[in-house]
């Protein structure tokens, strides 16, 4: 099969790899029809996530057709399914609490040692996202082996397009959970850092949950325009002092809740960012967290801080004093995708959520490398890339 492989920093290539097989009883094999590039993939592309090996197949947002099933799979050949990026067994303590991204049983035993050392507890597995989280071959490929296929994949009814439902695999539930973690009360003001796909879905979800005002922050006019289309007021951090603006736009109180949908590669010219970037470059596992620091400073006293943005290591100059003295509540984590897919599929079907507005480019899988480069270096125009395996032109 053809698959997008990681070779090194800013070097990804589509190569021919062996087709996957059923290995465990609960497996299924999916023939991928659509797969997206995620902001999380850019962390791998930029080489700031450890434990990625040359030749690893990337991709964790994918859907397709069931072509093979193991004896314990509940799927049927021919079904169309969207696959959550979190691999979860459905049987452990965490899965039973619907904390799917904390599953104990999906990360192979020998892959759990590193994260246990790094974080105190072993992480669960994700598709195509480094050997810290299992080293599972990812979805930017023609075929994928899907473990625990009786628990994760959601079957899509006929009549719904790939483009409408593909993002159930990650960014829609992620934006939704980001807003849910804000515990939004009717009329609340919510500020969102980052107008990438995650931030945009968080904006939309916050309105559905009753926010009165959502303020979205980014530097790219193209992305800010999409946030505005979703009903947000926008701040361009290149032309405006974000902290001052947020105070003024929230009656001098500060937003009730803040969402960091940027993660470990925040841009900014503040001294903290420059220092963070230097440390990231020399590889001491430091995160660049300008947006996170700003969010903590901006949020009102007793407010809520939601962090869907991904961090992997350590952080300097964390405003711990502001966090404690203002009495903030913090909620974060990799998304518990399986918890949300059913409900969100229904909301898409009923037209409550628009999922296609952010797709800026559709490419054949063969052109995935160009997709990565453009999504990384032309963020203004490239908001979301969907790859179509098995097609020559689109």
């Amino acid at each position: 099969m053809r698959a997008l492989t990681w070779q090194g920093k800013h070097d990804v290539r589509v190569e021919t790899m062996p087709d996957p097989e059923i290995v465990n009883p609960r497996d299924a094999i999916i023939k991928v029809t659509s797969t997206a590039i995620c902001g999380s993939d850019l962390h791998l592309y930029d080489g700031v996530i450890p434990g990625v090996l040359a030749g690893d197949i990337l991709g964790h947002e994918f859907m397709g057709e069931v072509v093979e099933t193991g004896p314990k799979s509940t799927l049927k050949k021919g079904q169309r399914v969207v696959v959550p990026f979190t691999i979860s067994c459905g049987k452990c303590f965490f899965c039973e609490q619907s904390l799917y991204s904390a599953c104990d049983n999906s990360n192979p035993a020998d892959k759990q040692d590193i994260s246990e050392k790094l974080y105190g507890h072993a992480m669960s597995a994700l598709f195509g996202y480094s050997h810290l989280t299992g080293g599972y071959p990812g979805g930017q490929a023609e075929y994928v082996r899907v473990p625990f296929s009786d628990v994760g994949p959601i079957v899509i009814p006929d009549g719904m397009d790939d483009d409408e439902v593909l993002f159930l695999s990650d960014i829609l539930p992620t934006g939704w959970m980001a807003a849910e973690n804000c515990d939004i009360k009717p009329g609340d003001t919510v500020a969102v850092w980052g107008c990438g796909p995650v931030g945009l879905f968080a904006v939309q979800s916050a309105f559905v949950m009753g926010a009165g005002k959502v303020i979205a922050i980014d530097e790219y006019p193209g992305r800010l325009a999409l946030a505005r289309k979703m009903g947000a007021e926008v701040i361009d951090f290149k032309q405006t002092n974000v902290l001052e603006a947020l105070m003024e736009m929230s009656g001098g109180m500060g937003p009730d809740a803040v969402i960091d949908a940027v993660g470990m590669e925040a841009h900014g010219m503040a001294p903290d960012t420059i220092l963070d970037n230097i440390k990231q470059t020399v590889g001491v596992g430091a995160d660049s967290a300008h947006a996170l620091r700003e969010a903590i400073m901006a949020v009102r006293k007793g407010g809520r801080l939601s962090i869907p943005g991904v961090y992997g290591g350590f952080l300097d100059k964390f405003p711990l004093g502001a966090l404690m003295e203002k009495g903030l509540q913090v909620r974060t984590g990799q998304t518990h995708v399986q918890r949300y897919t059913k409900d969100l599929l229904r909301r898409i079907g009923e037209g409550e959520l628009d999922t296609t507005f952010m797709i800026s480019h559709r490419l054949p899988l063969e052109e995935a490398a160009r997709g990565y480069e453009s999504f990384r270096f032309n963020q203004n125009e490239w908001t979301k890339v969907v790859l179509k395996p098995g097609t020559e032109t689109i």
Binding site: P18, I22, P25, R26, K72, C89, K91, A109, D113
Partner: protein
């Protein structure tokens, strides 16, 4: 008669004999303090902090706490090295006990365990060693309490002097069972010793925790997680 509960190696007494009040700390006399302060502001501050730490809130005698002995800061008990690990498995105690008690099942999740043979009341464990060699451990069950615990000890003719036990306790709040496995062994001498040291001593905790993780996967999900994309690598 051997009683597991009397075995000092398994008892939570990490501190041995009570420490004397004045042991292990050092109170500088005035002269020393003066020299320390003479080294400059930084050194002085550090010295002061150290002096404070060494003299304030000092605990003379520490009675044993409630943590398992193997988590103590000392990891040798006489000649024995001890390692152990607890894992919570979302299955009933009886089921887990029965699975473990059929020793034939153990190679399913213990990677280096090649073969298990039961001859009378003696069990022979064949463990894979590097360079296609094998080590044979011969054990006899010391205690076997249905649904609760199994302990064993090596006998004459075993390549390694070892003993161990596994206990099964109900986990709180209906979380299933807490499975605790403890192994004590005397690191042998010679070439074998070097290998055993590598296989057990350098990474005994790693090996043990990987095995318990695989057991948990197998019992909870019916399979052992792998990222392999094909049956044969």
């Amino acid at each position: 008669m051997y009683s597991d509960n009397d075995d000092p190696r398994f008892l939570p007494s990490p501190y041995g004999a009570p420490r004397r009040y004045d042991e292990g700390s050092y109170r500088p006399d005035r002269g020393t303090t003066a020299v320390v302060l003479g080294l400059g502001v930084l050194a002085g501050a550090a010295g002061y902090a150290w002096y404070q730490a060494a003299t304030r809130n000092r605990v003379g005698h520490r009675p044993p706490d409630d943590a398992p002995g193997r988590t103590s800061r000392q990891s040798r008990y006489g000649n024995y090295a001890v390692t152990g690990r607890t894992v919570t498995i979302n299955k009933p105690r009886a089921e887990l006990y029965r699975f473990w008690r059929s020793f034939q099942n153990l190679p399913q999740f213990m990677e280096n365990l090649h073969d298990v043979r039961e001859v009378g009341d003696v069990t022979e464990w064949t463990i894979r060693a590097p360079l296609d060699r094998e080590v044979t451990v011969r054990t006899r069950i010391v205690q076997d309490v249905e649904g609760e615990m199994i302990s064993w000890r090596s006998i004459e003719g075993s390549d390694i002097d070892t003993e161990g036990k596994v206990t099964f306790r109900d986990a709180p709040a209906d979380r299933g069972t807490e499975v605790e496995a403890i192994i004590a062994y005397v690191p042998p001498a010679g070439e074998l010793g070097r290998w055993v040291a590598k296989a057990f001593q350098a990474e005994p905790a790693i090996q043990g925790r990987r095995e318990l993780r695989r057991l948990k996967m197998l019992m909870e999900t019916g399979e052992i997680a792998t990222n392999a994309n094909r049956k044969t690598a």
